[in-house]
Point group: C2
Chain length 340, copies 2
DNA sequence: CTGAAAGCGCTAACAT
DNA sequence: ATGTTAGCGCTTTCAG
């Protein structure tokens, strides 16, 4: 039999109102009764029911975490890590996070996550690109939203975004500083703002070092950014541009695919071709050679997302945070001359 | 302004009780009013508040998912995938899953997950090994529990367990069938029942093929089963047993570490030494060469866990499910002769 | 400083 | 067949 506020009240010889007041540290309460009540609470090991509290307070202490099926199913633990970060931070705020995936294509408002329809969350985090229709539908419910790693075309929201331009620059500059001049770029899904920004970073770096940009060195026709696309893109690139010495792949998955192709042609990495990825999704998982990459602090992004959500819930003011990224130099990039 | 059952009742010109009955498909309700109510529900886009329903029904439609910090933080997506499976299946049952990590060491009852103390879950899934103290503490709350990939020393619970003995046999038999006779075993944390079972499988296979067991071929002194331990264990093994041609590592992490050591000594995999892991945690992530392993259906285990929990909640009968595993043959094992 | 009482949104006896 | 009503466990005015 579960113990309630009544049991505590009875045991402490006070009303349930008093118990509630004590629990909320209400000022006008005598130290004596406070002590009395706390004793009863301890002895009974009482914890208020979250459900009951939620009903009267009109708040759930849950936050929703939204992801498309595609992102949920990715083998690289990118969004998983963001989720984990959210989970961490949420706990510190006494919140739980409810995960929910949505289809990649979205039509009817009815398919909104149950936790929104059933008013089971105080706010939601949307991670990664989602169909714009769902955002429109959610507007109706006036639920606080923060975006992580995506920003919708319209509207004003809280968001934590990766500095993709900076990351693209860092990756490319690293290759340049290691003596490379003929640098390929492997892209895909160029509608995605992140990928576009990474390409922009690539161009910026080239320009900074006065290296002429050649459209023959970039391949951007792939539909997605997975390993298979990387394999295919590398094939295209290396067959048309024979003098490439280094490649910047727009993410690690593509880099991995590219490495596979390169090895298959009998070339060695990095002695024949250097390569750098983006996301640092492999961490200590092995690739051979270990892949240099741009590290994205995924867990931190999740943490920051929850913070922004808490802030928004109390202040109602949206706020954007730009996350900077770091180069992680491993063994997939070769220094080809002493310059720099 | 959020819309409630009252709004529906008013709009449909009935009492709230009728609305509730309609929503629950109660028999004695005239088709006419049913239609009337449903119209109102649709037009208002009404969804019952989960919180309110939970309060009166004394059930939350949440399930808790418990993991130690260590397991939560592992880079290999093992428990993550189990969690994902649970999430999938939970949704089908109209449940949400609340994730909560616990410290690896456990003392006081007070540190029990909030969702238990605050009665915010109808049952919990415990994945992986957890300190026995926490189980004792939870007993008090009489919360339905199902274990995944672990079974406590005492008590009678629902559980979904891997057939580790079978897996160990399959791995070892594979090596034997590929002609290997001097086969090393890399273990660690031998208190863990899973690891012991895998070793047992190894011994069974040896015996089945009348290959003498030599304690010099197994190293079980490592404290954990991560990459570093694998590296170290391989070092120990290969320095003492020079004629080893194949290794069965008790999990993929250790196998990876071992591969790293082997490569460092200049030996080639699989031509000099074959190796097989367990868990198949790498999936399509690259190791070089791709690691043969024993595939554990992680997502399915999560699904099965939720099913068992649902079953237990309604029947109150614990039930154990043994999950069988499969060999995944990739390129890390060499056939060294035609002998079977 | 403390207690009585209303009510959060819903379900399920019990009436009608 | 439908409506009335009493709670579920809690918070929070409002009286005393």
């Amino acid at each position: 039999m579960t113990i309630t506020i009544k049991d505590v009240a009875k045991k402490a010889n006070v009303s349930i109102a008093t118990v509630s007041l004590v629990l909320h540290n209400h000022k006008r309460i005598s130290p004596a009764t406070k002590k009395k009540v706390m004793r009863a609470v301890d002895e009974l090991n009482y914890h208020p029911s979250r459900i009951a509290r939620g009903l009267v307070m009109q708040q759930t202490h849950n936050i929703g975490f939204l992801l498309t099926n595609d992102h949920f199913l990715r083998t690289e633990p990118f969004y998983t890590h963001i989720f984990l970060g959210s989970e961490f931070e949420a706990r510190d705020h006494n919140y739980y996070v409810l995960l929910n995936t949505i289809p990649n294509k979205f039509n009817e408002c009815d398919y909104l996550p149950r936790f929104i329809l059933e008013k089971n969350v105080d706010g939601v985090i949307i991670a990664g690109k989602v169909p714009s229709e769902i955002i429109t539908c959610m507007e109706v419910y006036k639920v606080p939203i923060v975006f992580i790693d995506y920003y919708p075309v319209a509207g004003e929201y809280s968001a934590v975004l990766i500095d993709n331009v900076q990351g693209g620059e860092k990756a490319t500059e690293h290759l340049i500083e290691y003596g490379h001049r003929q640098i390929g770029f492997l892209g895909g899904d160029m509608i995605h703002p992140s990928i576009r920004d990474r390409l922009q970073g690539y161009k910026n770096a080239l320009e900074k070092f006065k290296i002429p940009f050649s459209s023959k060195n970039i391949v951007t026709g792939e539909s997605a950014t997975n390993r298979k696309c990387g394999y295919h893109a590398a094939e295209l690139l290396l067959q048309s541009s024979k003098n490439i010495t280094a490649i910047f792949a727009c993410n690690d998955a593509m880099a991995l695919g590219a490495m596979q192709y390169i090895k298959k042609t009998g070339k060695k990495i990095p002695s024949d071709i250097s390569i750098i990825g983006f996301d640092d999704v492999l961490e200590d998982l092995s690739s051979d050679p270990p892949l240099s990459s741009i590290r994205v602090p995924k867990v931190d992004m999740g943490i920051e997302g929850v913070r922004l959500l808490m802030e928004y819930i109390s202040s109602n003011k949206p706020k954007k945070v730009l996350i900077s990224v770091d180069l992680v130099s491993r063994d997939s990039v070769l220094k080809i001359n002493g310059k720099y």
